[in-house]
Symmetry: C2
Subunit: 561 residues, 2 copies
């Protein structure tokens, strides 16, 4: 390998400058505007709207379902919609630093060709788009698409899911920011620095799909694709007051998607969606599966979109005119704590809000006491760390860039795990999965097994940068939808001095709660169903959000409609 002639700092700075230069002059903010953004805590809603025209605001306030309907009905042109989202994304990037790649020209060209079905798509920077870099936060990947291994293939490769979205009429116009390694709950790397939370600039936008989460909070996108192995599409949704779907791995194609250490295939990363509505997620899943991804990607399980499942859940909800009079109420478990790190007060209040709303609407909610999540967390972490960070360092070494400070300890180069130990961990993981499944089946004291479980996504609202200590487990490969629920409120979420921490980590996390800093931070929760139950959990998420809305109990959607 030849030593790069240019320093990594220079390459990263060059990349940043080229990205900014791709923003048309008319959409550039002046220094006074940029300064006003820096002083602003909450960039969403009213603040970003001052840089947009009323018609643009009207467009970007709609979700994917409404927009595709309007375009199909020829009420609006694809070009007008694309222009509005490109402009909003351009503004969002200037005030919130959330993009890795900009290709508005390509998008507008494509929009001109389209006159029917269309969705506006952001894309996290793991997905290959022809003609565009996939840097995935590595300086060494700039200009070369190293995720594809063969340098002659630079910018030629297209991730299968990208192809599918394009074939379905999507317009791709930007790639959003990610953390170095992808394995971090914040969004920071040596190319763009960091992306902060548009709802509260003191806080992180989460990670890994943090840029997409931030962009959607600013309405610069209504639908994005991301991946999740430890919370990467769930955390950004919860932190930015939007929605996300983390399917079971093998439901959607991961072919030709860049990833950290893809040879670790025991616990798989999964492609998923972030959207400004549950309907947007449903549209994305239904559309993508209609392309039969399993024919081109042998890793995808051939399960078509089950309309029945969605309708069954909806019919239950609609029976007798409303959720309150259901014949067959949902039965939901609630995991108040994973017994490793207790939730901060805003998250606890979020759980109580949902439980109370669901009970008032006639649904059953039971406490969830599964096999200890700590067991799963240890196994899962072992797999993520198994290669001793060799993969990450191979990419860092391409440019000589260092690990970002937050990851220096976790990703220190060390000997890989022993294979026999890894195989033993595999067995223990399978045993845990079986035990969890047995617990789930054991629930029908009343003849009904639990439909889904409500859980925190993280023990805190959108986190104070540098204070992300605890990762969400993913050992079970369950189907998950994250919904926005509330926002931290310094007046109601006051510290309880009598709290007894469970352990040192819990103490550290508990002490990190700062009512003043967190004020206004989004809180999302995850709704978890079993493997390959994506349609069911989407249906349940629609019921839960409708229930919250009907009871006026949510303040999460002020900026996301």
């Amino acid at each position: 390998m030849s030593v790069p002639a240019e320093s990594w700092e220079a390459r990263a700075a060059g990349k940043r400058a080229r990205t900014l230069a791709k923003i048309p002059r008319a959409w550039r903010l002046d220094p006074a505007q940029l300064n006003s953004a820096k002083r602003q805590r909450n960039l969403t809603g009213a603040f970003i709207n001052r840089f947009l025209q009323p018609r643009e605001i009207e467009i970007v306030s709609q979700d994917s379902v409404e927009l595709t309907r309007a375009i199909s009905n020829a009420e609006i042109s694809a070009v007008e919609v694309t222009t509005a989202f490109c402009k909003t994304a351009a503004v969002a990037h200037q005030i919130n630093n959330c993009l890795h790649e900009i290709f508005f020209d390509q998008a507008l060209e494509r929009a001109k060709e389209l006159d029917t079905y269309l969705t506006e798509n952001g894309n996290t920077d793991q997905f290959h788009v022809k003609g565009v870099d996939t840097a995935m936060g590595y300086v060494g990947w700039i200009g070369s698409n190293l995720g594809t291994k063969d340098p002659s293939q630079a910018h030629q490769v297209e991730s299968q899911i990208t192809t599918e979205l394009l074939s379905l009429g999507a317009v791709l116009y930007c790639k959003t920011s990610l953390p170095q390694t992808l394995l971090f709950g914040e969004t920071k790397n040596n190319i763009i620095g960091q992306t902060l939370n548009p709802h509260n600039q003191n806080l992180s936008c989460g990670g890994s799909s943090g840029g997409e989460g931030a962009l959607q909070a600013l309405r610069g996108s209504t639908l994005g694709v991301g991946t999740d192995i430890g919370g990467s599409v769930r955390i950004p949704a919860a932190f930015n007051s939007i929605f996300s779907l983390k399917p079971t791995p093998e439901r959607l194609s991961y072919r030709e998607v860049a990833n950290t250490n893809p040879g670790q295939n025991t616990y798989r990363s999964t492609a998923g969606f972030l959207s400004t509505s549950v309907g947007g997620l449903e549209l994305a899943l239904r559309s993508t599966l209609s392309a039969k991804p399993w024919i081109r990607d042998p890793a995808v399980v051939p399960i078509p979109f089950y309309e029945d499942e969605i309708f069954l859940v909806r019919e239950r909800a609609d029976a007798d005119g409303g959720a309150r009079e259901l014949h067959l109420p949902l039965k939901l478990g609630v995991l108040w704590t994973d017994k490793m790190v207790g939730p901060h007060l805003p998250v606890l209040r979020g759980l109580r809000t949902v439980v109370s709303a669901l009970r008032d609407a006639g649904h059953k909610v039971v406490d969830w006491e599964p096999p200890l999540h700590a067991t799963a967390e240890r196994i899962h972490a072992s797999f993520l760390e198994a290669d001793g960070a060799h993969d990450v360092h191979s990419h860092l070494d391409l440019s000589g860039e260092p690990l970002i400070s937050d990851l220096q300890e976790a990703f220190q180069l060390r000997p890989p795990l022993d294979l026999l130990e890894t195989q033993d961990l595999t067995l223990r993981g399978l045993e845990y999965e079986a035990a969890y499944s047995d617990y789930w089946n054991s629930s029908p004291d009343d003849g009904q097994i639990v439909d889904a479980v409500i859980m925190p996504v993280a023990p805190h609202a959108a986190v104070i940068p540098g204070k992300y200590y605890h990762t969400v487990i993913n050992l079970l490969n369950y189907s998950v939808v994250v919904i926005p629920v509330t926002k931290a409120n310094k007046d109601t979420d006051v510290v309880d001095p009598s709290y007894q921490p469970l352990n040192d980590l819990d103490k550290k996390n508990w002490e990190a709660y700062d009512p003043e800093a967190y004020d206004g931070a989004p809180v999302g929760l995850q709704l978890v169903a079993r493997k390959f139950e994506e349609e069911k959990i989407l249906g349940i998420a629609q019921i839960v959000t409708a229930t919250l809305k009907a009871q006026g109990m949510t303040n999460c959607n002020t900026s996301v409609g």
Copy 2:
């Protein structure tokens, strides 16, 4: 661990004696009868029938579908059917040494309780049945069910698929023999010695499910459960002139099934069926899936039995009154050789027979030239060998028994593979799968992609013991049905002296062909469809066998109806 007081030889001999002692006196053969069997080349059909009554022969000549129909219609009792199969299995074991466990009492007890739906099931000795040993060929497992790890659980555990079969009305009455380690294409271990081929006692019955294959050739079973990671349900079917279904892993439950090195979960062993008819396989799959195994086993993908798929294939076959006038003929690929080891003449003739019959019936057959199987074979073998035989030796060490001579080289204890190397192999395996899938998709020169591919199961008919050199690849996890096609014939399958071996291994295999020894050896072929296409490949297998039968081109089924 305490040192076993008894020698492994004594423990193995004790086990053999206890198994034989479980055969009721009335069913025991006398020394003259046993000697006549030893002198007999072919034990199937007429020979074994001399020890049975006409009514018993009538019963055991029927397949699972006919028997379940007869029992459901109360034309015959469950007890009478069970008795006939127990007696046949008892005779088969005395002349062919194919059982590990006998529990006829338990079976007859159960048959008395049943008056409706019932299938007669053999069971390879990996599946836990309550009250019965699972020794899986290891002396050290005798009496303790070590597959379950917890000795207090001895004989208490039931494999999930056992539970499912029982819930569906199956009667289990014996467990059939396997090779030590399961990873061998013949059936030999230190407990029972070896099981030979009932069609030709010079030859092996194959492995790992060799005992089940042999028992079915002798009509002592119509349906059996086995597992396959490298050919273990396919090879015994091909060698014993019966049928088998190797599904995609995760289609059926593997929960609580004993296995070699279950921590190697990258390339998974899969549970499958052996049967005396395609209809028996279809019945087994439909029945097992009707129990929704995914609810209790989180490793199972929730895909119900697709009746549509079966009917679609059948309708094609029946259109316009016969296969010859199909509107939509099947399009099948044919893999003449895997380019590592060329097929012996009986196998080549088998391929030609099928291709010619299919073409005559109006189906399309095209040559299949996929990415080199050698690539897949190397990757697959690396995973099977990755743990350096540590798992196998841990079980051998329980009793002090040695490896059988055939396996001493392959299973020598050695350092496990390096984890990074394993992860790299994982990636190369995924790439191979994707390339194979691309090749499959590239086939529609005529607008029709290949429905399935016809391949040898092994490069030879039922093999001469000690001459099994080459293993069938399984890297792709495809859905496979094995069908019997022909038998080796010393008069037609004469050696071609001009053959140029491809390599040393091919030379060794080619030289091992002996027309005299192989005469009468069954030849089966595999029909391969893509992942999770079990219903489709069963439907295609029905068309192919019907086509062969209609053209009088098969001599495979003389003893299996």
